[in-house]
């Protein structure tokens, strides 16, 4: 057994390294070229902060970033509230249908969700596409992530704690206020951060539901690379990456079990 695994060792390592290389080398290149003192993504010329300065003076880009932050903030807050409620309901009532319906969007192709939301907004709700429709769309796909994390948090808990609260005189609201909520709070925060990250990164669904008036950061980046991948795109991508990474790290700090795949 030990001998066998010893022989497999080098291959395993090579395989693993290849996979990691595929994942991280492109990211590293983007980051590196964002500091490259050249208009072209071709060869390394020298270090510069220039592209970040360009970014700071790009009004369209700043507007897009502002939109993205606003959408992410509003949609993640609402999704956190609704997702927390859904997570608790899924845990408490254990209804398979309910769970299935909440979780389906995770597996649903994004493009399908995007198209169906577009049709829903235009044909059913008669909504003018823009900020509101994007926020609605982002809430829709974020809820399930929050719900999953909150439910996972509840699943690991001794059910008699909640009975004990009622037994000791707490009304259902007081039980939630003093016992359930403080206990699931790390999960709620982690879910909220996930929702925020998903919203700020989202391209496909936003693309379908944005209409013409509003541009978000991913949409802006996409429209820029249609012309050319400029160092400015690298710079904004690097910043976006940094933000996302920070949020994911924060989220994993609050709900380590969930994001480490233990649940």
């Amino acid at each position: 057994m030990h001998k066998g695994s010893g022989r497999r060792g080098p291959w395993l390592w090579t395989g693993a390294l290849t996979v990691y290389a595929f994942l991280y080398v492109p990211l590293a290149i983007v980051i590196a070229y964002s500091f490259n003192d050249s208009r072209l993504n071709a060869e390394w010329v020298g270090f510069t902060w220039r592209w970040y300065e360009v970014l700071l003076h790009d009004q369209d880009m700043l507007a897009a970033a502002g939109n993205s932050l606003f959408i992410a903030l509003v949609s993640s807050c609402i999704a956190t509230i609704l997702g927390t409620m859904a997570g608790i309901a899924m845990h408490r009532y254990g209804m398979k249908v309910l769970t299935f319906m909440v979780l389906t969007p995770v597996a649903m192709p994004e493009i399908l969700l995007g198209v169906s939301l577009l049709l829903f907004f235009i044909q059913v709700l008669n909504l003018t596409l823009g900020m509101i429709s994007i926020i609605f769309a982002h809430i829709t796909f974020s809820i399930c992530f929050v719900a999953v994390i909150v439910r996972a948090r509840l699943a690991g808990m001794d059910e008699s704690i909640f009975e004990a609260a009622r037994d000791l005189g707490a009304s259902p609201w007081e039980t939630f206020r003093y016992v359930t909520f403080p206990l699931i709070l790390p999960g709620v925060i982690a879910g909220g951060l996930m929702a925020f990250t998903l919203s700020i990164d989202d391209f496909v669904i936003t693309f379908f539901t944005a209409g013409v008036g509003v541009q978000t950061l991913p949409l802006r980046i996409y429209s820029m690379i249609k012309i050319a991948v400029t160092p400015e795109v690298n710079a904004v991508s690097t910043l976006l990456m940094l933000l996302t990474l920070t949020l994911i790290l924060l989220a994993s700090k609050f709900a380590p079990d969930v994001l480490k795949g233990k649940v």
């Binding site: 001794d158 008699s160 704690i161 009975e163 004990a164 609260a165 009622r166 037994d167 000791l168 005189g169 707490a170 009304s171 007081e174 003093y178 016992v179 403080p182 206990l183």
Partner: protein, 361 residues
């Protein structure tokens, strides 16, 4: 009027009858135990008293008032859970003060009651600790303190000692007895451990398959079980199939296949010809080599087949010539090994004619 009256309570889960027409009266200040194997309905009954579950039929009355429409949080009944169910995000003090806070007691009163209770359960130095920093015994005491701090009419305890190791369990039993006596709150204790029930309770209700088999004081339950289930469930007992030959002169003459004719104490309704078992506790069976056993009315020769030495006592398994076995439990009171028998020793087995009992089929 009893403090807690359980009247013809039935609870079904689908086809399964968890609690079957149970009636019990529990007096104020009593340490009452529901004892039975797992699945006998004792926990279901406890949950109905607490308000987590409702009876399908029957009534539960506390101080004469029907509890049916009172939700769990409004009942003056608190529960100590098997898992303790301490709030992990609250300190010991916050846990214990929780019921006071929910009852909207004034802060000064909360402070006073909290500190009295902390003293009472010897946790004053742990007030600021979180549950995960406590030992099993300490968690147990926090759970007890939290249940008692508000002086409920009833404290329900669901196998609270189950998670403790043997030595700690014994200490906690003594603490429980003292605590209950000091606070005077009625305890309803649920357990499957008969030793615990015997040691703690004023009265015990033995339950089996949703029904109450017998309600009695521990010593009566042990000494005079009303049926085979109770006899077998409480402690150890030898049971030998028997038939009544004659019931007269203040005793019962039994025919026990493999042993012959023996004398047993009289039982109501045991007419000649009645089938049943002769049951006798191992500590009532005596074994010896010489005369003193032969003076007993019931005595037979046998051979020691195995022995289990337990330090304070030794359990002997003795085989009669017919192949029937009986267990005898002898104290190891004498110094050294002088009194010990060995496997293979030929011995006399006997018991007093007023020991043991006849139990109907």
């Amino acid at each position: 009027m009893a403090q807690l009256e359980i009247k013809n309570v039935t609870r079904r889960f689908g086809d399964f009858v968890a609690v079957d027409d149970v009636s019990l009266n529990i007096e104020a200040g009593e340490f009452f135990t529901l004892l039975g194997p797992s699945g006998c309905g004792k926990t279901t009954l406890l949950r109905m008293i607490a308000g987590f579950d409702l009876p399908d039929a029957g009534q539960i009355l506390l101080d004469g008032k029907d509890l049916a429409d009172t939700p769990a949080e409004k009942r003056p009944v608190h529960t100590v859970f098997q898992s303790y169910a301490l709030f992990p995000h609250m300190t010991v003090a916050e846990n214990i003060a929780f019921p006071l806070k929910m009852a909207r007691r004034p802060p000064a009163e909360i402070h006073k009651m909290l500190h009295e209770t902390l003293e009472q359960v010897h946790l004053a130095d742990k007030a600021a600790a979180y549950p995960h920093e406590l030992s099993g015994g300490q968690k147990q005491r926090v759970a007890l303190a939290r249940g008692l701090v508000n002086r409920p009419r009833l404290l329900l305890l669901d196998e609270p000692l189950g998670a403790l190791d043997a030595k700690l369990r014994e200490e906690m039993q003594i603490e429980l007895i003292n605590l209950q006596r000091d606070v005077g709150v009625t305890f309803v204790f649920v357990t499957h451990a008969q030793v615990e029930a015997l040691a703690l309770s004023h009265r015990i209700a033995v339950m089996s398959q949703g029904k109450v088999e017998q309600v009695d004081e521990p010593s009566r339950l042990y000494g005079f079980p009303s049926n085979r289930f109770v006899a077998d469930f409480i402690g150890h007992i030898n049971m030998l199939p028997a038939q009544v030959i004659e019931s007269a002169h203040g005793h019962l003459r039994l025919s026990v296949p493999g042993l012959g004719e023996i004398l047993a104490p009289p039982v109501a309704g045991a007419a000649a010809g009645a089938q049943g078992v002769f049951a006798i506790r191992p500590e009532q069976v005596r074994i010896g080599e010489h005369g003193e056993i032969s003076e007993l009315r019931n005595h037979l020769p046998g051979v020691v087949t195995t022995l289990l030495y337990r330090g304070d006592v030794t359990l002997y398994k003795v085989k009669f010539a017919s192949g029937k076995m009986i267990e005898a439990l002898l104290p190891n009171a004498a110094a050294g090994r002088a009194e010990l028998f060995e496997a293979g020793d030929a011995v006399k087995v006997g018991w007093r004619h007023d020991a043991g009992m006849f139990l109907h089929e």
